[in-house]
Each structure stands twice: as C-alpha cells, then as structure tokens.
Symmetry: C2
Subunit: 369 residues, 2 copies
C-alpha cells in the first residue's frame, strides 16, 4: 500500500519532471532517466520514483516499451487541437453591425491558424443539434464562444460538454462559470476624460441601452463624470430598452432634440451613437458643431458606415477586435496545455480615438494644436 | 518609403516567424532562412521579407552577423528572470496567522525555483527605500506581491516601477490596475451547501470582519443561504471591525453566548472561527456538539493550531496556497514572456473540507456513512 506521504512525494517528483519535459521540449521517443537515477536525483526511494513515473505514464506524458524502458511521448503542444468557434445569434442585428460582428470570428480563425490549430465555426442551432447527438466533445477539443448573451440552456450545454471553454467578445465580465476575455472599457473611457477637458458649465447627457454592456457604460461614464466634478443630478440620463432601441431613439430625438443642443453626449455604443447622429441630423444638428459626442466601439474602423458620412466621424473608444481574438486563442490554448482548473478573466486594454464628433471645430482650433 | 500595406504584410510574416521561433525553441546561433527563402515561403517580395526580419532584429529575437546572415538569439524564455516577491505588512497579526501567511511566500519561492527564476523577497519598508533610490527596476525584472491591503502610495510605487506585476493571495478581486490571482471562494462555499443540508428550522448566524474579504464572505454566505430558502431577515449577522476584532469577539460571546446555542455559525475566516470556538469553549460550549460552524481558510491544514485541540477541528473552505503560488508564478512569467498589455484575473478554485465543527456527532452518525 502506498502511504499518503509517499503519494505526495511522488506527485512532487512528477510535477518537477512534467515541468522539465515542458522546458526541454523533449522529442517523442527520448528515453527518460531510470527509476533509480530519478530516485538518486530527488533523494527518494526507488519505489517512490517508480510511482512518479507511473503517474506520468497514466497522464500520457510518458510511455513504456517492455524490456526497453520509459520514453517521452509526443509533446501535448504538438498535437493539432480541434477548436470550435461558437457564434451567438443576435436577433434584429443591423447589417452594419453584422459586418462588425463577423470580424471577431474572422480574427479568431486567423489566430488559431497561426497557432496551428484546426478551427471551424458553428452556430447556436448547430450547438443544440450537436448536444442532442452528444457530438460536441466528439467534434472538438476546445471551444471559443462569442458572447453577447448566453441563455441558461446554452450554458448548460457548454458545461455538459466538459470541454475547455473560453467566452470572448464581452465588454463586461459575466457571472458565468467560464473563463472569459473581455474588453477593459474603463481604460478607454479614462483616456476620453484625459483628452476632453469638460468645462464645469457643460451639461452632460448619457444615452445607453438597458443591457449589461449599456449599464456598464453608464456606470463608467458616471464614475468618470463624478471624478471630473459633475454631480449625478447634473447629468441627464436616457436608458433605452434593447428591443426597438432604434425607433425609440428616433422618437426621443424627434420630440426632445432641443435638449441635445450644445450638449456633450456620452453614447453607450456606436450603434446607438449612429442612430443619435442620424436622428439629430434630421433635425438640422451636426455632430461637432451643434453638440459633441463620444461613444464606445470604434466600429467605423471596422467597416461600419454612417449614412451621411464618408469618413469616420464618431469619437469612440476602440474595442480592439484582433487583439481580443488573439488573447482569447492564447488563453484557450494555455488552459488546454496546462490543464488548468482555474477560471481566467483577461481584460483587453482599450484606447480612445478622437474624431470630429467630440470637438467643437471653433473652440478646438483656437488651441492651436 | 514603406507603404502601410507593406508594413502590415511584414508584420504578419514577423508574427508567424515569432510563433515558429516559440514553437521550435530554436537554440541561439541557429541560422534563419534567408530573405529570399522567406519571400518565397510567404509569397511576398524580398524587400517585404527583409522588413519582417528587420522587425525581429529590432525586437532582439534575431541578430545579424555581417557577411554571415541572420541568426536566432537566445530564447527569451531561457533568460533568468529576477523576481521580487513583496511581502505586505499586516499589523497585529497573530503568531499563528503569521505562520500561515509565510506559506504563501515559501510556496512562491519554490515555484519560481522550479521555473528557473531567481526570486527573493522584500518587505514594504524595503520597497519604500528602493523607491527613493530608484532601485526597484534595477533589482528586479518582475514583481509578485502578496496582498492583504495595498495603500495608495505602494500602488503608485509599483506602477512607477513599470515592472510587470502580479498581485496574489487575495480572496476577492481588487479595483487596482494590476493583474491578480485570487481565490474563487464561491466554489468552496458552493460545496459547503452541497455537503451540509441545512434544515429550514435552522437559524444561521454569520460572523465576519468588516474588511473586503469579510464583506465578500458575508455576501457569498447570504447568497447561498437565500438559494437554500433562508430569507435575509432569518439570518443573524455580526460584523466586527478589523481592529481588535479578537477582543470584541470575546466580549460578544461573553455577553451573548446563549444566542449561539444550537446555531449554525458561518465564520468569515479561520482567525475569527478560532476566536469564536475558544470564546464559546470558555462558556462550556463545544463545536459540533452545542453549535455547528464552518469557516474559510482551512488554516489548520497549514499549521495553525487551536489552543484546546490537537487534531484539525474547523470545517473550512480550503484556500490552496501552493496552487495559488504556482498560478501566480505562471501568470507573471506568461505576462513577461508575451509582453502582454492585458490585465489578467485568475480565480483559483477552492474546496470544502468537512470536519467535526460542522457535524452534530449525534445527528450525523445516524446517517450511517
């Protein structure tokens, strides 16, 4: 019988050997040291060294050839990983936004190809279908899921697959039991307030959707406005429901456009910003002349185009999609390779991109920069 | 002049070469492919291939020998990293707790030695001293900081050093601009509620310190109690100030010990739990007989000893210190090697360890397991 103390000693030796294997990048077929050599090296008994070897054989890191000894197996990092990239369905997504959305997938596919993984995308209906056939874990070794909203059934399906899973593309960390890569919107909004010094005479307006991303944007704007000396009561806040936010937004402007005159608008995202800009344009108001606006997403960089503008207009916090995809891939591979049981949250830094919508051309030019 | 398109093509090739370098683990002095070979391989022009090589030479990944060609430099992963392990000062820490605390340091030093890094500890006064001499970045390449509380001056010192920094040991994620490894206490408390089925007749008592860890424990206990069907009003809550919590706790028990009779106590941490157990013992009450108690920390596993007990007694959520230290080391090395700009939050899973304090000996034994 192996005692507890012996088990833990063997484990420690196995850990050290695993680390050595990782560092040395030993080729498949390289012979390991013998049990007695290992025993000597670690100053333990030969049976303890044997146990350590057995642990690694069971893990698949080493293999035995009867009469010849123990050898290193092919390095787990060299195996081709089959990655499934799950694409959530967003109802009522505008064509412009669909284009942006697809960039996440495109960049993720590119990243995985660079890491020599075999990646293919699947949609949520496919996911449902694979679940009923038990095919998720048969088809893939790991999953990367774009996330706007995950319903409880999808979360259950993903958990039941038992596959290493990373959720990415979010602007906030969600309370779900997966590792996540999300944007650190805070760092970008920090830059907004560094680049734009709001005079205390300013009356800020916040327009957000009533979604997790919208609520997070609202909190961040309010936090930074408070730090800049604005009391919460001095801020006008409009919260749109997600459903039909475009129609509701247009109606808001139609009725209340005068309330936006000369104001500084903080928009929850570029989708909302573009609706606001279009609606205010219909009332004869021009961004950067009759009001100022900043937003989150920098979607114009990724192919989104405003109806009445041929050059990017919206001053916006860039959510760097390529870096996001790279970090998500890197994280997933790291979890797979280290067989880590931890939950990882990676926050991708964001930056503010200054554009016309945030600068009164008259006031800004006088500064001479 | 190099056009934008060319720059981005060279970048892509440089990225691929960097990845290849990482995968191959090429030794210092290994010649790279020539520019024309690279051009052919990636189907680009020779100047573009040249640009890619130049990018990597500037990064220090390759070096040129006049008349001989380009060679791989020593692998960045092979360089010995000088890691400083900063140890925060905790005023009024009991001797038992100091012993536990030091385990974090011990495990971190062990981990770094396994990763072939040169690690040494420093205290906060040393940190202050190094700051005035500008010596932090001269002495170290990266920092690992144990964290109970970081004051603004220390945060500034760490930020100003510009060194890759990981904060570890926390039970909650703090709103500070560093990557952090913290315990996922939630997963352990989840196990508490799976292992202990509280009858609805139970009147739960929560005792926590008024600290971030204590508040987090309180919220988690309340969340799980609510899920188990207990209304917030049904829970008795005691919040202790951090200063002199021991004296205040003893006085609480001296006056109100009857209120703990037959109750299920959820303690914020083992320090508090041990004070409660000692104080209730003075009133003739025995854990697991006159009341039940669970706690967080599993400090008895790490050498903490209750005055009147020679075997571990406290049923407690284990905060695995060795895994924590390993993950913290791994994360710091990964940040250094990938030169990552992201902020990482790693949540180390925790597990519940059932012990005498949580089981009424009479009721539990009848279950026959």
């Amino acid at each position: 019988m192996i005692t507890r103390a012996k088990i833990s000693k063997s484990r420690r030796i196995a850990d050290a050997m695993r680390e050595e294997f990782r560092t040395l990048h030993a080729k498949k077929g390289t012979p390991t040291a013998s049990a007695s050599e290992i025993a000597e090296q670690f100053e333990v008994s030969v049976p303890t060294a044997h146990n350590a070897i057995n642990l690694l054989v069971r893990e698949g890191l080493l293999y035995r050839v009867r009469g010849s000894g123990t050898f290193f197996n092919s390095h787990p990092e060299d195996a081709v990983l089959r990655v499934g990239i799950g694409d959530s369905i967003i109802p009522d997504l505008s064509v412009g936004m669909q284009k942006i959305w697809n960039k996440h997938i495109e960049y993720a596919l590119n990243s995985f190809s660079r890491f020599s993984c075999e990646a293919r995308t699947f949609s949520y209906p496919e996911l449902e279908n694979m679940r009923s056939n038990g095919g998720l874990s048969r088809n893939f070794d790991a999953l990367l899921i774009t996330h706007n909203y995950l319903d409880p059934a999808t979360i259950r399906t993903l958990l039941e697959s038992g596959l290493p899973t990373v959720i990415y593309r979010g602007e906030v960390e969600y309370d779900i039991p997966f590792s996540q890569v999300c944007y650190d919107v805070n760092s970008g909004i920090d830059e907004v307030f560094h680049e734009i010094s709001l005079p205390s005479s300013e009356s800020p307006v916040i327009v957000v959707e009533n979604t997790p991303n919208g609520n997070s944007a609202k909190q961040l704007y309010l936090k930074h406005l408070e730090k800049a000396g604005f009391k919460n009561e001095a801020v006008t806040l409009y919260e749109m429901p997600y459903q039909q936010h475009d129609i509701i937004c247009f109606r808001l402007i139609r009725v209340h456009y005068k309330k936006f005159k000369g104001k500084f608008i903080f928009a929850g995202d570029d989708d909302l910003a573009s609706i606001l800009i279009s609606a205010l344009y219909d009332e004869g108001m021009i961004a950067g002349r009759d009001y100022r606006l900043v937003s989150i997403g920098n979607q114009e960089e990724y192919g989104y185009q405003l109806p009445d503008s041929d050059t990017p207009l919206i001053a916006s916090v860039d959510l760097p999609k390529e870096l996001m995809a790279q970090e998500a891939c890197r994280l997933l591979l790291q979890i797979v390779r280290n067989r880590s049981l931890c939950r990882f949250i990676v926050k991708v830094p964001t930056h503010f991109v200054m554009r016309r919508s945030a600068s009164y051309t008259t006031t800004v030019r006088t500064k001479g920069d």
